[in-house]
Homo-oligomer: 260 residues x 2
Amino acid sequence: MTKRYPTAEVLAQANDTFLDSVSVDCVILAFHQGSLKVLLNKFKISDKWMLPGGFVHIDENVDDAANRILKFRVGIADLYLKQFHLFGNCDRTRKEESLKMLDSWGITPENGHWFLKRFVSMGYYALVEYSKASISIDESVEEVGWYDLDKLPELYADHGAIVEKAINTIRIQIGIVPIGYELLPEKFTMPELRLIYEAILGYELDRRNFQRKMLSVGLINRLDEKRKNGAHKAPYLYSFNREKYEEASLGGVHLMPWTH
Amino acid sequence: MTKRYPTAEVLAQANDTFLDSVSVDCVILAFHQGSLKVLLNKFKISDKWMLPGGFVHIDENVDDAANRILKFRVGIADLYLKQFHLFGNCDRTRKEESLKMLDSWGITPENGHWFLKRFVSMGYYALVEYSKASISIDESVEEVGWYDLDKLPELYADHGAIVEKAINTIRIQIGIVPIGYELLPEKFTMPELRLIYEAILGYELDRRNFQRKMLSVGLINRLDEKRKNGAHKAPYLYSFNREKYEEASLGGVHLMPWTH
C-alpha cells in the first residue's frame, strides 16, 4: 500500500497497477504568519504548480491513497482529511497537457495509454498545524512550497477551481469544520483565530464581537499567559478545550453560531 | 448524453462506452404518510434491492450521469441533488456477485470484462417532493418502490452503508440542508416538518419547543388555513417563505439553530 514510484516510473506502469480513471487531489491548508496557506508542488520541467495528488493503487482504498499522499508530503499521518467534491467533468483533463507531460518525462505513450484517458479526481482538503508539517522534496525533481491562499501562482488544469471549491465548502460548513482547532498550535491569540475565520469567509469580522461570541461558545479558555512580542501590546493566549471540542465534533455545538 | 441502454445491453458494451471504474449511486429521499422513504429498485432475477444508479458515459460529466439516472427514475429534472461521499474501498464490489449478475443476464464475460473490475461509486442524495415523483419501471424487467428508511429490505453489496452515510451526512449538516423545504409540499403541518427532522436526527423532538423555535428562525409562515382531516383536531397549515429560503441557502441562516 505504501509503495511509491518516481513520477516517470509511475507513468510507465501498466494499466493494472493503478485504478483506471480515478485520481486524488489534496488541498492542504495551514496557517502561518497571519495568512492561510496552500501547499503546492511543481515538476521542475513544468511551468505550472499543482496540488499534491496522485493515483490510486489497484489494491488501495481511495481514502488511503489520499492519506498516503498527504503523509508523504507533510510527514504526518492521521491528519484531519476530508473528501469534499468529486471533480468529474469531461473537460477537466486535456490530452495535449498530458501528452506534453509524458514527453517531458521521456515517455512515448502507446495508443490508449492509461494516463491519456479521461480522469475524474476526488478532492480532499486537509487541515495541518504549520509547525508540525515537515515538507519533503520528491527525489529533487520537484519543488514544493506553501503559497498564500490569496496569492496563488498559475495552477495546472482545473487545480485553481479545486482550491476554490475546497474553501467554499469549508465556508458553507463553517459551523461544523473545526478550522481553528486543527490549524492553530496549542496556544494562540484571539487575532490569529479571527484571521483564520476571515480568510475562509472572505471578509473582515468585528474584533470585539468575534472575541466575545467565540468565548461564549465555551470551547476556548483564556490562559493566564501573554504572547511576548516586543513591539506590540502583549496579547493574551488562549487554548482549546480539547475534551469539549471532541464532543462538539459529534454535533450539537455550532462552532460559529452568530454567522448563522 | 441521454441515451439509455437496457441493462443486458449495457453489460455487453465495450469498455470505451463508459468511464472505467466509476459508477454512481443515488439515495433518493421523499416524505410520505409520516415517514421518510428511500427509492429502491430490483432486477426481477435478483433477490436483493439496489439504489438507483448506473455508469457514466465516456462523454458525460459525473454529475450529469447522476441527474440522468434521477430524472429517469422519478421523472423530474433539476432536483435537489448533492454529492455526499465517494465509496472507494477495494472490497466494496465482489467479483462473485458481479459474475452472478452477468450470468443471470445471459452474458459470458471475456477475461477482463469492464464490469468485473474494481468500481468506486460516487454517492449522491436527492430530496424529492413525494407527490411530484412519477416512478417509471424499466422495460418491465425491474421493480421499483419507496421503502421506509427504518424498514429497508436487504440491499445489494454496500448499498445499505451508502444509505446510512447519506443520512449521517444530512444529520451532521442539518443546519444547512433544507430538508423540510425540499421534501414538503407547498402547504404542510408542523408535525409533518417535525417528523422529517426526527427521522434524520434519529430521536424525538419536543413538539412545543420545535414549533416555537422553528418559527423563530423566520423562514416559515403560518397560514390562515387548517388541514381538514375529520378525526383529529384540525392542525394549522404552514408554508415556507421561499424568498428568504433562497437567501438562507447562500449561508447566513442556520436552519435549525437550537440543535447546535
